[in-house]
Amino acid sequence: MVNRFVVPRLPRATLRVLVAMAVLTLGAQNTHAQLSSWGGGTGYWNSTNWTPTPVPPNSATTNVSITGTSGTPSVVTLNNLSPTIQNLSLDSFSTLSISGGYSLYDTGASIANAGEINVGSSGASTLYVDASTVTLSGAGTVNLNNAGSYLEGYSGSNNLVNKDNTIQGQGYIYNLASFQNQGTVNANVSGGILSIEGVTNTTNSGTFQASSGSTLFVNGTLTNYIIP
């Protein structure tokens, strides 16, 4: 008689559940985000001034944190790549500038900006939001510095909630299923237009503002505006 290791036969449904659990477990392990923190001071995104050292990669599982101090503010310029990250955070002593021709893809649900994000500091560029719903918080400022500056949904099915930031300048808030403004959107470049465009539904419970001879254009449905 040959001794054999006998694997008990499980019902197919049970196997499916076990396989699904295994996949979920592995998936969860993969979604444990890595954190890349800026080491302070002024520099380019692709410098070695990150901890851990590698430049935040094209990875949707990398959270990026930029912090500074009042004595040593952090100023990071993204000028030679267009990385994908998970969540982005800046403290009040930090500035991130996305140079013309480059983009930053935020695939997480949060952009916690207590500092300043310059989109298109030298030409057209885009800050993409690429999660189902992305909340912009932290009471900071997003400067759309160029007529070709975009704060844009990646797929068009993305929802953006501006909790308390000031989004100002000229350019576009673009390609979103919805845009909820609870903060401030301020068109403030003389002769320029800040356009909310390609957005299925825009809701304003904060402030929409046009100043200094500029135009704020809600080019789509504003749910606050009720026309019978």
């Binding site: 503002q209 046009a210 254009f217 504003l222 505006y225 019978p228």
Partner: protein, 280 residues
Amino acid sequence: MTSTLTGGTYNAYSGAILLSQANATAPTPAVITTNAATILLDGATAKIADGSRHDILQGFFTTNATAGNFTIQNGANLTSSSSDFNNAGTMNIGANSTFTVGGSHNYVQSAGLTYLQASTSNLVAAMTTLNGGTLQGFGTGTGNLSNMGGTVHPGDGPGTLTVTGNYSQSAGGTLDTLIGGSSQGATYSWLNVSGTATLAGTLDLSLVNGFAPTNGQLFVILTSGGLSGQFNDNSIQIGNVTFNVEYSPGNFPNDVVLDASVCRSFPFPSPLRGWCSDSD
């Protein structure tokens, strides 16, 4: 068609906010007839418009709802639709700005506040009717003012409110007057009526800024081109000061004058004016 902007704040500082849904030139225009949001227009070029930059407030605005807060200032002027304009919220008319009710119609306030924020603020209507709420400030109401059931308050603290037209106050109306000094329209309230004043209802009086009138001091709180009627009370006492309300006295024809009578401590009853016993 009633189109409403509801919720949120819309500030135009010499700029334009465009809403593509609107169409001011359509046979049935999609414009803003009712404001239930907060709108501020600052400067002569400030506007809220459709996608083709046609103004969607100018000539269309009809109602400022309870939740509505509407401000024009610093050269921004607005004419409402050619019908009565209704306010139940807050209407602020700032410096160098005029709000005109279109088509020589009436401005009707059921509740809330109309605030003429500066001496260069102007509200123009055939008739401004206060059924409720407050009209206050420093500017000019051009046209007749009928205070049926609201409060008219010259100034912010004390100040001057001018009516270029007739003023009538009914039994339900209140004229709110502050006495904080001896300068008419500056430290004490002045309602300056160019036409006739027909009075009834309440004169509400307060002493402010720690001011203590002297005995016999006069305060000309209302001037007019022809005075009739009276407020409910002939005298109003505040602390140890009794203000006698006098109509067209002596040198003040067609004016309402408060004559202060100040009680001073006296150990026993005295018939002398201004001297009161401790028991008074």
